[in-house]
Amino acid sequence: MSKIIEKEFFSENVAKIVLDAPEIALSRKPGHFVIIKIDKKGERIPLTIASSNPDKGTVTLVVQKVGVTSAKLLALEVGDEIEDVVGPLGMATHIEKVGTVLCAGGGVGVAPLLPIVEGFKKAGNRVITVLAARNKDLVILEEQMREFSDEVIVMTDDGSSGKKGLVTAGMEEVIQREKVDLSVVIGPAIMMKFAALTTKKYNIKTYASLNTIMVDGTGMCGACRVTVGGKTKFVCVDGPEFDAHQVDFEQMMSRLGAYKDQEVAAYQKYLETEEIAG
């Protein structure tokens, strides 16, 4: 059981949720995630830990409404309890001083990027962050990113905030201007795919943090498997970060859609029951 201590909406569909989870708060490092299951009938879903406070014993998650479980989660209030929270899971990000690090986050990938940006900055790197979203309302955590970045470039599809264009345009701008030693990209699979292609052109070592379907998160089921460099890897234990130039993003996208029909039907049903209840 984990109690919700705090909840704040960043936009209509994205909120920060602070959970009481003292052990996880103590052990967690940037890059780690948790698996949560809201109630008895819930499913297990992975969520990256955006930040933690070991003194208060809390971990912060940023959740975007994409389906039944995330919608249920965002519908919970401060004081409500989540039945199961387990973690920290996955391998922590390997943070060291390399020089200049280009971090790129798209959509809800911005949340898991935050601790990495913070980590690299604290390790003494020059950190440039590119945040991408469809429009101004969907740009999140910009302020927090500024705190730990030497520069933040905002890219929106419609130009309503920052510059108009895709994340890759913002990345190219930086790469053409100065030497980049390492890049970290987190976001929707399609965004990571193109971000990886961009850095590959310039031979910049790049990590992508993958958000596959998971069940247990302990290496027990293989639901999270992806192909990296021609080999099958389990994202929950071998990742979630991998060499972005080696990841088979096409396969990953296809696997993410494995339950699309069921998910859409379940979400529809959820919305209908919500309407009746509300």
Partner: protein, 495 residues
Amino acid sequence: MENILEYLKAERSQEWRTEIRKSIKAKERMGKTRTNMPEEDPMVRNRSNVEVNSGLTAEQAVLEAQRCIDCPNPTCMTGCPVGINIPKFIKKIETEDFLGAAAVLKDTNGLPAVCGRVCPQEKQCEAQCFYTIKMGKPAVAIGFLERFAADYERDSGKMAVPETAEFNNIKLAVIGSGPAGLAAAGDLAKFGYDVTVFEALHEIGGVLKYGIPEFRLPNEVVDVEIESLRKMGVKFITNFIVGKTASFDDLKKQGFQAFFVGSGAGLPRFMNIPGENYNGIFSSNEYLTRVNLMNAANPEYDTPVISGDLVAVIGGGNTAMDSVRTAKRLGASRSMIIYRRSEEEMPARVEEVIHAKEEGIEFMNLHNPLEYYADENGRVNKMKIQKMELGEPDASGRRRPIAIEGSEFIIDVDTVVVSVGVSPNPLIPASLPDLKVTDWGTIVVDKETMQSSIPDLFAGGDIVRGGATVILAMGDGRKAAAGMHKYIMEKIKAN
């Protein structure tokens, strides 16, 4: 060894035993036929989750118990990995002292209701029964009787909570709540320790919960055993991964003085053939976890599962049988086993193979998958398989399958479950660099005490043996508990 034989002899010559033995002539006992287990209709049960075997009635159990001739040298016991006093519990059943029979079982086996259901009796106790080895007749149905006595005790509402020694306030940790961990926890509690079981998942029970389906082992049977451990003072903490949520050092700081690791062999193996990552292809662990642990087939639960129509399950073990029969229950029109050896080499319990056939499972033995193909959405729709023949025996003693060149052909499938074995869970070894492990990743332990290369860490079950059995895991847990008790006592003495 001498001692055990003496002890058995003394037990056997007790008055009640002699009396019941003499009440029916041996010849008459041997003339009786083995009782059949009452079962649900195959074509009804393969559409539901009801337990396949419904259990012997009291009359049936007594009749079956009468078949046992109470041998002076009970060879059956040599086949039981935990050395249950088999003739004694069977004779208790014959005298209709069913609770007494259950007590005999519990002297050596903490989970008789589980073992009676899932032990490979035909390879263990029943394989060594006098009837099998000397008369070529069907063995006494030891497994059915074990289950009967254990179920009787549970249903009677008189389940005795085992006595525990005076609470000694010494904290011990058990990691993993499968049969190995549960058995260790039970014995440690009996010795008086303050035992905490840490489990990574949200449910207690390990494979008994997430792997073995309801139709073979109802959750309720496992829950009753866990409840009994709770009554003995054992604490359970779920959602706690030792090595991740907290380290061994953290736990030591919290006062834990020794550890039992029963973390199982949870990692699914794949075959690494082309197309294996297409949608609709799962490990048996994923498939069974979705259905058993997450209740995915119940529309009220949020977890989805693909209920395929043409389902191929690769493998011939218990896990493969459980998966293929689950697929049938989820509505598959074709649910088939693809196994590279012949039925004789199948590691699954014989009863499960028989039940699977009754339920309409197809068996493509001596076939091996080579490649998978998918539709435009990346969902598997065909697979290429190859015929095999058996060659000379390999290291495992089973005849080695050899591919027949040019025998490849393609079949339609929409769901594939890969069930070709598991590897040890690397979480614990990875978090303890000093821990000695084998090349396969199993923890190296002393065979008697189950102590690892780290003195305060003991281990047992699948993490030591690779994929093995429930009864071996339990036996390990009990041995380790004794080993830990000795270790702690010596440590206290030394101080």
